[in-house]
């Protein structure tokens, strides 16, 4: 045929449709990882705008920026988005991208399952957001879900939530949950069966260890949410009575089922943050991680204990003394392995030659902010104190310190740290510093003060408040912090665009790091490694760079 010689002599032009086709049909763990992270960031902006709308509404008393109905939809969509469409995909994305590279493999164990999982996640998220248009249904009632991100029954039952908004909440999360489940199966199978020669379990990077533990937690904790949501769906569509108090059902059972997922979920989101910090802090302190095996053990301990703390979300329900004491004690016990980790990171930094580049700045802020989150967590575990502040802004401040002060800060650190590997370009250090300082100061202005209106008794999820409660100044300051946070995120977006257009080339190993992903090119080729690496210690690149003083002599 005449066209064949043409194809042989010059490489085919890359049309934009080819690039699109590549990304849509890819089964490569690196591309899927980037797709997960990028979609997570898009949803992060959407969820952030929802939060901004709420803070505008609450900035001054008796405000009329949004109606009560819209406000209910905003906090429901904000919470659901941030947990299921931001946190989950970003942790799955980093796991996808990094686990094969860190253990010297060429892809995940099940590449096609991996692609399936990503698209399930994305379309689950789109299904949730389609509710704004589609959930009116036959009833002419409702828009987006407005029952809160934990959708307590009987509010979420058919009698009190007409229309299909709550059904979109159920189905969107169930569908995107298949993405998380298949990602978890994939990460464990990859780490357990595809390690390169010499990469024993005891030499796996802490990142991989922690993602394996998180994946086990996903497999144990996420199916119960699916099961409970299916029960709710049966109640709503088939007239079943799982949570129908009129027919002898128990609305509190929903709370137990939801939080049996919901509390482990907090650790599912937070442990990946620990994983990023455990890779970044040693590299920028120029020391090996302090207490490698203790870190692994502490993570396993958190995984186990986190399965028996769920009802500390329900102290105000009236479970009785015995259960309250059990769950309070279990909750406080989680503080022990978590505290051990904090000390290990500090001990890693202690005496190190610390380089405060942007990833390290974010991890340092994480240490301080996560400590605050942990301390208020212990306070909330004390039942009498919890009774005083339950469902108040003190609780809101507490979990935003965990999820923003802890997780989001480590995610930003991870993006600055691994972006050069993923794109081959450095993120601008100056822009990064602006991002860091604006975001961290803004975050603390918003959420440190939020403890204040919580202690003054302001309940969460109210769309406005009267002017005589002494909450005005607190709310105004809280809302003003948002401006700084948005400014910080804008610097981040600008830094990413600038880096992709004209960023300084990163080279293979810009941070002088020690794990295997830095031994290949940036971005890595499709097959990751020219030849399968052979590992003799926990820091294979250190051994390579210092043949005179390799780690394996001491481990």
């Amino acid at each position: 045929m005449a066209s064949i010689p043409l194809a042989d002599t010059e490489p085919r032009r890359r049309f934009r449709s080819d690039v699109l086709h590549d990304w849509v049909t890819t089964v490569d763990h690196k591309k899927l990882g980037i797709l997960y992270i990028a979609s997570g960031i898009v949803f992060f902006v959407i969820g952030g705008l929802e939060a901004t709308a709420m803070r505008i509404q609450l900035a001054v008393p008796e405000n009329d920026f949004v109606s009560p109905e819209v406000f209910n939809r905003l906090f429901t969509m904000h919470g659901t988005t941030m947990v299921f469409l931001v946190g989950m995909p970003i942790i799955t994305g980093f796991g996808n991208y990094l686990i094969p590279l860190m253990i010297g493999a060429r892809d995940m164990a099940f590449p096609r399952l991996n692609a399936w999982g990503f698209w399930m996640f994305l379309f689950g998220g789109l299904l949730l957001y389609f509710s704004y248009l589609g959930s009116t249904g036959l009833y002419g009632a409702g828009s987006a879900p407005d029952v809160g991100w934990f959708a307590y029954t009987p509010l979420a039952g058919k009698a009190f939530s007409r229309g299909n908004a709550t059904d979109y909440w159920i189905l969107g999360i169930v569908v995107s949950g298949f993405g998380s489940l298949s990602g978890a199966v994939n990460m464990i199978a990859t780490a357990l069966t595809m390690r390169c020669e010499g990469m024993s379990l005891g030499r796996m990077p802490l990142f991989v260890w922690m993602m394996v533990i998180v994946s086990f937690m996903i497999l144990v904790a996420l199916p119960p949410l699916t099961a409970a949501q299916v029960m709710l769906l049966f109640d709503r569509f088939l007239g079943a009575h799982f949570f129908d108090t009129q027919a002898g059902g128990d609305a509190v059972l929903w709370q137990h089922f939801f939080w049996f997922f919901g509390h482990p979920e907090v650790y599912i989101l937070m442990i990946p943050g620990f994983a990023y910090a455990s890779e970044i802090i040693p590299v920028f302190s120029r020391k090996v991680i302090f207490g490698y095996s203790v870190m692994v053990g502490a993570t396993v301990a958190i995984g186990f204990v986190s399965l028996s703390v769920w009802a500390h979300h329900m102290f105000a329900v009236g479970m009785g003394r015995g259960l309250n004491i059990w769950f309070a004690t279990a909750t406080m016990i989680v503080g022990i392995p978590t505290g051990m980790k904090l000390f290990n990171w500090l001990a890693t930094m202690y005496g190190g030659r610390i380089r405060f580049r942007v990833p390290m700045l974010f991890c340092t802020a994480f240490l301080a902010q996560f400590l605050v989150a942990g301390l208020t967590g212990i306070m909330l575990a004390a039942v009498p104190f919890d009774w005083q502040v339950t469902d108040s802004y003190f609780v809101v401040a507490h979990f935003h310190f965990v999820l923003i002060g802890g997780l989001v800060c480590t995610i930003f650190g991870a993006i600055y740290y691994w972006f050069p590997k993923m794109s081959g370009r450095m993120l601008d250090e100056r822009l990064g510093r602006w991002h860091f300082w604006l975001f961290v100061i803004g975050f603390n202005v918003t959420f440190l003060t939020m403890h204040g209106q919580g202690l003054l008794g302001m309940p969460r999820r109210i769309y406005t408040y009267p002017a005589d409660r002494g909450w005005e100044i607190w709310n105004l300051v809280t809302s003003l912090g948002v401006v700084l946070q948005i400014a910080g995120v804008l610097f981040f977006v600008y830094a990413v665009i600038k880096a992709l257009r004209s960023g300084e080339p990163a080279g293979d190993d810009p941070w002088d790091a020690w794990t295997l992903e830095w031994s290949t090119s940036s971005p890595p080729p499709d097959y990751n490694f020219d030849e399968a690496p052979v590992v003799r210690s926990r820091r294979p690149l250190w051994d390579l760079k210092h043949p005179d003083d390799p780690d394996w002599k001491y481990e």
Binding site: L192, M194, R195, F216, F234, A240, H241, V535
Partner: protein
């Protein structure tokens, strides 16, 4: 499939297919556990009849079918490993038949409950929890049955050979899991619950 290599360059005990299947079973176990907890929690809490003791009969035939199908599927896998095609096909189709028998027995039971006893998923808490738990189990049996039937048809056409034994073995693991769930369902619904 090549033998997987562990960090020391030794063949490990587990292949990625085995690990993946076990993890699927872990997630499914967690899913069923919630329905079983729900069932146990609502025993004796129905406000109106029919009650389990009035309408449930021990599903002896269904149980015999399903439990023995776990044996026949092992026979099929062993035969395939030994490259004995006739025994493999006999084992697979015996499994499909026994699984089909289980589903038929369940269908007859549900027909009696719905038509004769008037028990629907919306009738009372017993109906709600019974049809959800037993129904999800039956759905898993159906999925396993379709996969086994697919293996059987491909086997008749000559596409399933000795080197596929590890994969058929993984399917048999799933089938055993469905069996074990039935033991739990049987205990909870037909023994504890009546």
């Amino acid at each position: 499939m090549t033998a997987p290599i562990d960090g020391q360059g030794n063949a490990t005990a587990w292949s990625r297919g085995e690990v993946g299947t076990l993890l699927l079973i872990l997630a499914e176990t967690s899913f069923f556990a919630i329905f079983i907890v729900g069932y146990l929690f609502y025993i004796g809490k129905s406000l109106s009849g029919p009650y389990p003791a009035d309408v449930l009969e021990l599903p002896v035939v269904a149980t015999i079918c399903l439990l023995s199908s776990s044996v026949t599927v092992v026979v099929a896998v062993r035969a395939l490993e030994a490259d004995r095609r006739g025994a493999f096909l006999a084992g697979i189709f015996a499994t499909v038949l026994l699984g089909g028998g289980f589903l038929a027995a369940t269908a007859l039971e549900w027909r009696k409950l719905i038509v004769d006893d008037g028990l629907m998923i919306s009738t009372n808490l017993f109906g709600t929890t019974f049809y959800s738990l037993v129904g999800f189990h039956a759905a898993h049996v159906t999925v396993g049955l379709l996969l086994l039937a697919l293996v059987g048809v491909l086997g008749v056409l000559g596409f399933v050979r000795k080197e596929h034994a590890t994969r058929v073995d993984l399917l048999s693991w799933y089938w055993h899991f469905v069996d074990v769930v039935w033991i739990a369902v049987f205990t909870v619904v037909y023994v504890v619950g009546v």
